[in-house]
C-alpha cells in the first residue's frame, strides 16, 4: 500500500542517508571474494546466489543452526550462499519492513485461529509492511517478477482448476458449518504447502524455569495449576507471594522491551507479553480460550459482535485533570480499530495501517462504518457493535485481542506528527517511537526502565481485576524484568537471582538440566527450582521465501529448497526432540492426514533429499537440474537462461 519508498517522509530512510557514506567502504571490501570468482568462472552472474537472513545465536541458537544446515545443503548443490546475521529488531526490519532478503529463518508468531493465515498470506497484503504477507506472495501476479524467465514454467501446475489461496482464505471465513470450514482449511493447507511461500519447520515446546521459594503459584504439588499461564496475562496474576515478597523478578532474553514499548511496532514486539500487561484487550487468552477481559460480555449475532465493556476502568494517566479521559469507553475501542486501520488517522495522503494486528483486524472492512458505538450521546458509553466480514464466531473474536489504546493520547500524537502528508507504513514516527512511558489500562503500569538493562512495571491499583472475585488478583507490587541472554538465565533463577524466566528458554539452555519430563532442575527437588512446561508454542520456526526475489518467484524452486531441510534431523539434533515437526503451520486438529508428518517425522510433501541430516548430493543436484537449473564444470548451480 505504502510502498512509495522514494519519499518516505519522517521515517526518513536512515539507510539511504548513510548508505551513501558507507557504500564506498562496503564496496571496497565486501565483494572481493565474488570478484575473484568472476575472474575464474566465465559468467558468475548466472550462479544462484542467496543470502539467508537470521538472528545471532545469542538471540536464537536454534534459528542459526537451521540456517547453517540450509546453507551447507544449498552450497552442496552448488549455490553461492551467505548468512546475513542481524540483531532481532534489525532482522524484523529487514524482513518485515524493508523486504530486503532472499530467504530467512525465524519464528512466526502464529495465531489463535487458523484465520491468522489470512493475514500471513493474502495477496492484498503483498505490498504491505509488517507480519502480513512478508513473503510478497501473490498468486495473481505471474511468477517471477524480475523479468528473467524462470527455470521451469510448468504451466499445468498453475493452471486454473482448484481455487487459489486467496479464495480459500476468504471461503474459510464464510462456511456454514464447522465441518465445511475444516474441509476448506484442509484444502487451503494443501495449497499453501504446494505453493510454499514459507516452509514451516516445527512448533517448539516452551519451557521456563521458576523458583518455588517466594511464590506459591509455582509451588504446586500435582496439578500444576499455574503451569500453562505464562506468557499470557494470567501468568502474572495470582502469584501467591510469600509474606514480605512484593516484587516478581522475571528474566527476559531480549533487550528490546527496555528500549521501546510501542504496541504498534512490528520490529520490537514478538508476541507482546509485556505490552499485554500494560494494555488491556477486550478478550484475553486463558487456558487456550479467548475469555472476556476488558469486555464484560461479548455476544455473537449474525455477523456482528455486541460488546459490553466493564464500566469505569481507568487508564494509567487517571490523575490527569480532565475527567472525561479517565475511563476506557466504547469511544476508545472504536478509535483503536480506526487507528489500527490508519495510524495517520486520515491525515496522510495514503492510509498507513499499523504493521501489527493487521491480521487480527482484517475481518473489519471499514472500522468507521462497521463499528457502532451505542448511546454515543452519553459521555461515557460502554456498549458497541462491530460488524465483521465473516460468519465464523472464532474468526470474529480474533479482532478482540488487540490492545485498546487511549484515544486522547494517540490522537494528540497523530496531530503533533502529521506535518508532512506522508506516513509510510511501519516506518513513520508514530509506529517507531519508543512510547515510554506507555499509558494503557492494563494490570501493570510503567514505572521505570534502564536501556538494555531492565524494565520495571508497578501494580495498577485501579485495575478491574482487583474488584472482580472471579479473576485472580495482582498480588505483587511490581515486576522487574531483567535481561539475561538465555544460557545463564537458568543459573540465575537457581541462585535466587530471579524468580522466573518470562521468555521461553532455548533448547540449549535445557541441555543437561532437564531429563525426560522431570519436574525439578537437575532432577533435584532441593534446588527449589522447577520447570514450567512443556507448553506447546503457537510460534513456529519456519523458512520464509521472498517471492519478490528472482530466485524464489517460482514455487518449484521454493519446494526444492524445502527439500534441503531435514526436519526430523532438526528436531532431533537442534531441538533435542523438544519440538514438534510440521509440514503445515496449524495444530493437528486442522491438518489433513495427507499433510501429517509420518512416524519417522518424514515430511509428506517435500521430503528431504537424504537422511539423518546427510544430504544425498547427487539426488539433490539432479532434482535441481530437472527443474531447469544446470551445473557448470566447477559444480556451480546456474540458472538456465536458454529456456
Amino acid at each position: 500500500m505504502n510502498r512509495n519508498s522514494t519519499n518516505p517522509g519522517d521515517g526518513v530512510s536512515r539507510r539511504s542517508v548513510l548508505a551513501t557514506a558507507a557504500s564506498g567502504l562496503a564496496l571496497s571490501t565486501s565483494g572481493c571474494i565474488d570478484r575473484v570468482g568472476s575472474v575464474v568462472g566465465q559468467d558468475v552472474t548466472d550462479r544462484l546466489a542467496l543470502s539467508i537472513t537470521t538472528v545471532p545465536a545469542d538471540s536464537d541458537r536454534e534459528a542459526v543452526r537451521i540456517a547453517r544446515h540450509l546453507e551447507a545443503n544449498l552450497e552442496a548443490v552448488g549455490a553461492d550462499v551467505s548468512i546475513d546475521m542481524r540483531s532481532p529488531s534489525e532482522f524484523l526490519q529487514t524482513v518485515l519492513i524493508d523486504h530486503d532478503f532472499d530467504l530467512y529463518v525465524g519464528r512466526h508468531p502464529g495465531g489463535f485461529d487458523p484465520d491468522f493465515l489470512y493475514g500471513a498470506l493474502h495477496s492484498r497484503y503483498a505490498d504491505e509492511r509488517g507480519w502480513q504477507n512478508p513473503f510478497g506472495f501473490d498468486e495473481t501476479q505471474p511468477e517471477s517478477l524480475s523479468g528473467t524467465p524462470s527455470p521451469s514454467r510448468d504451466l499445468s501446475e498453475t493452471a486454473p482448476g482448484g481455487p487459489s489461496i486467496d479464495e480459500l482464505l476468504e471461503e474459510q471465513r464464510r462456511t456454514n458449518t464447522d465441518d465445511d470450514r475444516r474441509d476448506v482449511i484442509a484444502d487451503l493447507l494443501e495449497e499453501v504447502v504446494e505453493q510454499k511461500p514459507f516452509d514451516p519447520i516445527c512448533f517448539p515446546e516452551e519451557y521456563r524455569v521458576a523458583r518455588t521459594e517466594h511464590f506459591g503459584a509455582w509451588d504446586v504439588d500435582d496439578d500444576g495449576a499455574n503451569d500453562g499461564h505464562l506468557p499470557t496475562r494470567h501468568g502474572f496474576l495470582g502469584l501467591e507471594p510469600e509474606p514480605g515478597v512484593d516484587q516478581l523478578r522475571a528474566l527476559i532474553t531480549d533487550t528490546r522491551p527496555t528500549r521501546n514499548l510501542n504496541p504498534l511496532s512490528a520490529t520490537i514486539r514478538d508476541r507482546g507479553t509485556i505490552v499485554n500487561l500494560l494494555y488491556d484487550s477486550l478478550l484475553t487468552e486463558h487456558q487456550g480460550e479467548l475469555v472476556p477481559w476488558l469486555a464484560e460480555s461479548v455476544e455473537w449475532e449474525d455477523g456482528s459482535l455486541h460488546i459490553t465493556l466493564r464500566e469505569e476502568c481507568p487508564f494509567h494517566d487517571d490523575d490527569d485533570d480532565d475527567e472525561a479521559d479517565r475511563y476506557v469507553t466504547a469511544e476508545d475501542v472504536a478509535f483503536t480499530y480506526e487507528f489500527l486501520a490508519d495510524t495517520s488517522y486520515g491525515e496522510a495522503d495514503t492510509p498507513s495501517p499499523a504493521p501489527r494486528y493487521r491480521s487480527q483486524t482484517s475481518m473489519i472492512d471499514d472500522p468507521s462504518k462497521d463499528i457502532v458505538v451505542e448511546d454515543f450521546l452519553e459521555d461515557d458509553s460502554y456498549e458497541l457493535r462491530i460488524d465483521v466480514a465473516t460468519n465464523i464466531e472464532s474468526v470474529a473474536r480474533r479482532a478482540l485481542t488487540v490492545p485498546i489504546l487511549p484515544k486522547h493520547r494517540w490522537e494528540n500524537q497523530v496531530e503533533s506528527r502529521t506535518e508532512s502528508a506522508e506516513a509510510p507504513q511501519g516506518e513513520w514516527g508514530l509506529v517507531t517511537m519508543s512510547n515510554i512511558p506507555a499509558i494503557g489500562s492494563g494490570p501493570f503500569r510503567f514505572e521505570d526502565s534502564s536501556q538494555r538493562e531492565s524494565l520495571t512495571l508497578e501494580r495498577f491499583e485501579d485495575h478491574f481485576t482487583q474488584d472482580d472475585d472471579d479473576l485472580p488478583d495482582i498480588d505483587v507490587e511490581s515486576i522487574q524484568f531483567g535481561i539475561d541472554p538465555g544460557s545463564t538465565a537458568v543459573e540465575r533463577v537457581a541462585n535466587d537471582g530471579a524468580d522466573v524466566t518470562a521468555s521461553m528458554l532455548s533448547t540449549h539452555a535445557l541441555k543437561g538440566r532437564l531429563e525426560g519430563d522431570g519436574e525439578w532442575l537437575d532432577d533435584d527437588e532441593t534446588s527449589e527450582t522447577r520447570w514450567i512446561g512443556p507448553r506447546q508454542s503457537r510460534m513456529f520456526y519456519h523458512v520464509g521465501f521472498n517471492t519478490r526475489a528472482a530466485a524464489f518467484g517460482d514455487s518449484s524452486v521454493r519446494r526444492l529448497v524445502s527439500q534441503l531441510l531435514d526436519k526430523s534431523w532438526i528436531i532431533d539434533d537442534v531441538f533435542g526432540n523438544r519440538a514438534k515437526p510440521i509440514a503445515a503451520p496449524l495444530s493437528d486438529e486442522w491438518v489433513p492426514d495427507t499433510l501429517a508428518m509420518d512416524e519417522d517425522d518424514e515430511e509428506p510433501v517435500t521430503p528431504f533429499f537424504g537422511s539423518d541430516g546427510e544430504l544425498d548430493v547427487d539426488a539433490a543436484r539432479d532434482a535441481f537440474e530437472d527443474a531447469g537449473f544446470r551445473h557448470d564444470e566447477q559444480g556451480w548451480l546456474l540458472r538456465n537462461d536458454d529456456t
Binding site: L18, S30, I33, P56, A57, V64, S87
Partner: protein, 279 residues
C-alpha cells in the same frame, strides 16, 4: 552474582600486582617512588585525565554505538568467516578442561592484571615517559577501537557457528555478567582484549632493559590473552590480527604524541611559570 565476580576479580588482581611489585619492581624503586611521587603524578596527570574522559565517554557512547552501526549497516561477519573458515574449530579441537581453565583465567584475571600492573611498574620509574606512553596508548586503543566498532558490525564465532563452544561461558557462566557489562555482541572487530594486551606486550619489550623479567611475563600473558579470545570462541582470528595491528598503531602514535606534548608542555610551562610567580 556480578558483585561477587567483581570482588573476586579485585582480590585476585591485587594479589597478583603485589606479587609483581615484589618480584619485578624491587625495594629501591619503591623507595625512590616515595620521594618522587608528586612529580611523577604531576607528569602523568594530563594523560590520566584524558584517559578517564575517554573511558567515561566510551561507556556512554556504547549505548548508542549499536544503533549507529546498524544505520551504517556494514556487517562483514560472513566475509570474515569465509576468509578464515574453520580455524576456530581446529583450535577448539585441542580442548581440555585444564586448557579451558587456564585460558578462562587468562581472559579475565590475567588480562586485567596485564593492564593494571604496568601502570604501577612504570610509575615506579623516575623516567615518566613509559608511563605516559602506556596511558596514551590505552587512550588511543579505546578511541580507535570504538570508531571501528561504530563502522563494523561483526558477530563473534559462537554466534554464527553454534558448534563453536562458548567454553568460558559454558564452564563459568558467572563471567558472562561481567563481560556483558563491558561489551555488546556486535563488537568483535577488532579484539580490544588483544590490542590492549599486545600494547602492554610491545611496551614491555621496549622497556626490557629496565624490566627484563616483566618483558618475559608480559609476552607470555599477551600471547595467552590473544589465543584465549579465539580458543574461548569469543573472537575470530581476524579480530585478533586486527587487534595486534591496532596495538602497533597505538604504540607508535603514542610515541609521537608523548614526544610532542611533553615538548609543548615544557615550552608552555617556561612561558607561564614566571608570569604565575609574578602574580
Amino acid at each position: 552474582m556480578l558483585v561477587q565476580v567483581l570482588v573476586q576479580l579485585a582480590v585476585v588482581v591485587t594479589l597478583m600486582t603485589l606479587a609483581g611489585i615484589a618480584l619485578f619492581v624491587g625495594r629501591y624503586r619503591l623507595r625512590e617512588t616515595r620521594v618522587e611521587w608528586k612529580d611523577r603524578v604531576r607528569a602523568a596527570t594530563p594523560i590520566t585525565v584524558v584517559l578517564a574522559v575517554v573511558l567515561l565517554g566510551n561507556s556512554v557512547a556504547r549505548q548508542i554505538v549499536p544503533d549507529l552501526s546498524w544505520m551504517i549497516d556494514w556487517n562483514p561477519t560472513w566475509e570474515i568467516y569465509d576468509l578464515e573458515g574453520q580455524f576456530i574449530l581446529w583450535l577448539q579441537s585441542f580442548e581440555t578442561p585444564v586448557l579451558t581453565a587456564y585460558f578462562s583465567f587468562i581472559y579475565i584475571y590475567g588480562y586485567v592484571f596485564l593492564l593494571v600492573f604496568p601502570v604501577v611498574a612504570y610509575f615506579a620509574l623516575s623516567n615518566t615517559r613509559p608511563l605516559r606512553e602506556l596511558l596514551t596508548a590505552y587512550t588511543l586503543n579505546y578511541t580507535l577501537g570504538l570508531l571501528l566498532y561504530i563502522f563494523v558490525i561483526a558477530y563473534g564465532p559462537r554466534n554464527l557457528l553454534p558448534e563453536v563452544q562458548a567454553l568460558m561461558y559454558d564452564t563459568y557462566p558467572q563471567y558472562q555478567h561481567l563481560t556483558r557489562q563491558v561489551n555488546r555482541n556486535t563488537n568483535v572487530f577488532p579484539s580490544l582484549h588483544t590490542s590492549l594486551a599486545a600494547t602492554v606486550g610491545i611496551l614491555a619489550y621496549r622497556t626490557r632493559d629496565v624490566y627484563p623479567w616483566w618483558n618475559l611475563v608480559a609476552g607470555v600473558l599477551a600471547i595467552s590473552v590473544a589465543i584465549s579470545t579465539i580458543y574461548l570462541g569469543i573472537h575470530w582470528a581476524i579480530d585478533v590480527l586486527a587487534g595486534i595491528v591496532l596495538a602497533y598503531v597505538c604504540v607508535e602514535l603514542s610515541r609521537v604524541f608523548v614526544g610532542r606534548w611533553s615538548l609543548s608542555e615544557r615550552v608552555a610551562l617556561q612561558r607561564w611559570l614566571p608570569s604565575i610567580r609574578r602574580q
